[in-house]
């Protein structure tokens, strides 16, 4: 299947494949953990059953998604060493401690309190259970903070020197952690996770509203999700714009690829809406463009000159077509989300939110849109960083482990087979759980009888039920 490919290309495909699968789960579990904390808080505060049934409904989905995130994440933590050992040896002194902080402050926190959140409500009481739920949510956000600091440092390295072994030596940890692109990337990603979750929750709510307009749990989750769409989408577009301006300052070649600007424009650059990047001829074929708009967006001046990829040496140019397309996919989804947010606001204002069949049908279709946008966004920023792992300093081709192509081809094949099988099954189970009606008296997720009985059991009942020996 991978005949004739170099070890470097195979290792890149393997990393792209495993990290793409991985990011899907955190993108969902970051948002869902916060949503669960809000639901549990509202349940304790208002004592309305709808919040508890929503908590229990999404908790089980969270557990499966979180489990998939954990196992796919462990692969990432070892793949740096197996496939990118030179990068690990050189960048380890900088990114390693940041990842160690992620593990110590976030992974242990999530894992330590996840069991109590999932299994422990009756054992620890409502207050400690709320605390545990909050800690899981806090842990997911801390995790995002550290790993985005790592990724941002690879995009905009700062605060280091290089020693005789070629290692990056940390000189200023403040500058490393708060490197130039970090605040923008963190904001953009956390909002993306929240939006992704909002559209999943909204889509599931819409699905059940289309079946039964009176379902209280479905109404509640749909309403909450649509508020998120209204509020967070505009914030995300602003955050994305600021992130883009930051990228223009620090990684101009990436923005040139995103914009499709092969040529420099001394008197105002056009915004290319669509076109086919032609890497041979270094131009965009069939371009549909709006004159000078790109200069207005990026420089806030219609006539501001903008450099193009003709100013970048060929061997430092990122793959234009991939970045060009993935960026457009992300932007298109972002504006679709914005439109849906305003649509929902209009129907809500009319008092028809729960009867808006077309809005609900569109929301069902848009339920996975956040995942596509997150993946497209990451492809844009990661492929746009090429041909470097540490931007401008360490080339991807100089980062590779001394591995042979057949070994990587074999492991890549194994990853593809296992991931599609395992995460395909997990996605199927999650969708089956989402298909169950929320708020039903006995929310059975799955088909087996045994352990589902657990919810609502009291210690007294446990004593009565006797021993386990058979």
């Amino acid at each position: 299947m991978f005949d004739g490919m170099t070890a470097e290309l195979l290792a890149r495909i393997q990393f792209a494949f495993t990290v793409s699968f991985h990011i899907i789960f955190p993108a969902f579990s970051i948002g869902l953990a916060s949503y669960l904390a809000v639901l549990n808080g509202l349940w304790l505060w208002t004592k309305k059953d709808v919040y508890l049934s929503l908590f229990n409904y999404w908790k089980k989905i969270f557990a499966v998604a979180f489990g998939m995130g954990v196992v796919s994440g462990i692969v990432m933590s070892y793949q740096f060493g197996t496939n990118w050992s030179v990068f690990s040896d050189k960048a380890g002194p900088v990114i390693g401690p940041l990842m160690a902080y992620e593990i110590l402050s976030a992974f242990f926190l999530e894992a330590g309190f996840l069991g109590i959140m999932l299994f422990g409500r009756e054992r620890v009481g409502p207050r400690l259970h709320m605390f545990a739920t909050g800690m899981v949510a806090f842990g997911t956000l801390l995790s995002a903070t550290w790993i985005l600091s790592v990724n941002s440092w690879m995009q905009t390295p700062a605060g280091y020197s290089i020693n005789t072994d070629g290692q990056f030596v940390p000189e200023d940890w403040w500058a490393i952690v708060f490197n130039p692109s970090f605040p923008y990337r963190l904001t953009h990603m956390v909002l993306a996770a929240y939006l992704t979750t909002a559209f999943v929750v909204g889509g599931v709510g819409a699905l059940h509203l289309l079946r039964d307009k009176t379902n209280l749990a479905a109404r509640k989750m749909f309403s909450m999700a649509m508020w998120m769409a209204v509020i967070v989408t505009p914030l995300q577009i602003v955050a994305g714009d600021l992130h883009g301006l930051n990228t223009l300052e620090h990684q101009p070649a990436k923005v040139m690829a995103m914009e499709g600007h092969y040529d420099s424009y001394p008197e105002g650059a056009p915004l290319i809406l669509f076109g086919i990047p032609n890497s041979e001829e270094k131009r965009i074929d069939y371009a549909i463009e709006i004159p000078k708009l790109s200069s207005l967006i990026l420089k806030h001046d219609l006539n501001a000159p903008l450099d193009g990829l003709d100013t970048i040496p060929d061997d430092e140019e990122p793959p234009v077509a991939i970045v060009f397309w993935s960026f457009r996919i992300m932007i298109a989804i972002g504006f679709a989300m914005l439109a849906i947010g305003f649509w929902s606001l209009f129907r809500r204002w009319k008092g028809q939110l729960y009867d808006a069949n077309w809005l609900q049908r569109v929301m069902v279709l848009m339920a996975p849109s956040g995942f596509v946008a997150v993946l497209a966004g990451w492809v844009t920023t990661e492929v746009g960083r090429q041909p470097f792992t540490v931007y401008g300093v360490l080339r991807t081709s100089d980062s590779l482990a001394p591995i042979e192509a057949p070994a990587v081809a074999a492991s890549l094949t194994a990853f593809i087979i296992v991931y599609f099988f395992v995460f395909g099954a997990g996605t199927y189970y999650i969708m089956r759980m989402m298909n169950k009606t929320p708020g039903a008296i006995d929310v059975k997720m799955g088909l087996n009888k045994g352990p589902i009985r657990a919810a609502g059991i009291t210690p007294a009942q446990q004593l009565i039920s006797g021993t386990t020996g058979r």
């Binding site: 060493g81 197996t82 330590g112 194994a414 045994g450 352990p451 386990t468």
Partner: protein
Amino acid sequence: MEFDLPFIWAGIIAFAVLVYVVLDGFDLGIGILFPFLKDEGERDLAMNSVAPVWDGNETWLVMGGGGLLAVFPVVYATVLPALYAPLIAMLLALVFRGVAFEYRWRTERWKWVWNLAFFGGSLVAALMQGIALGALVQGIAIENRAYAGGWWDWLTPFSILTGIGVAAGYTLLGATWLILKIEGAFQERMRQAAFKLAIATLGLIGAVSLITPFLDPVYFDRWFSWPKIAITSVVPALVGLAAYQLFAGLRNKSDLTPFLASISLFVLGFIGIGISFYPNIVPPSLTIWEAAAPQSSLEFALVGTVILLPIILAYTAYAYYVFRGKVRPEHGYH
């Protein structure tokens, strides 16, 4: 006062790996025992006895790997490529094992698939960890900060022996954990299983311990030359004591003693490896101090570790405390 940061860090990483081995050891052991349990009811119980804690247990593995990247990057960058195939196999096995905890409850028709995934994932992960240990003991060729050996160097009769040894030991941990967490006839059968597993584990520990000194003259000198033998012989003596406690605990029908004694065997085995390795972090020639990251990395990471590690240990202990006692069929959230 000047702290020897590389030495402190070697201790912290060793601690994280040891905690991983003991904690995920019994999780994986339960997985290996899975097909030998009587029915789905027993499997539900066995899985629920670790369901609230397995994720935290596995995090110590990430801590071991992440810690190496942070403070001994050259170890991370040489040992991982050297163990490419067994580590990839271990990671894929852990994927199957990990998702089985959730998937198994989500389907009736495919339950057997996830039972198999739980068993196979646990067994392969245990074998691969043991093989990785054996390959490391045998030594890893490093030149110019890169792995310089072949792709199959890790596969030797000795590494297969350590692989089986670790798998047997994990299964012993799993069986003794179940003795602690369950009751009745199921518990009684676990006692009988633990008895056989204890004999197998001790036999394999003995075989590995006898072969190791002959792999490298340095190891031989460490264990058998006078006066070192006066100190090192304490380790096998303590193994004997732990073995006695283990068998006595099984005979007296103690719930806790067999588990603690099994943990002691792992701790002692780990100390034995430490005695063989020191001052190397990767045998035969990379020392702790040669492998250490720049001082600023060691310092920065240590500040957080000193603050966070005790907190982690505290809430991990609390999580175990919350889920203390016998696990019963009606427990679990599913």
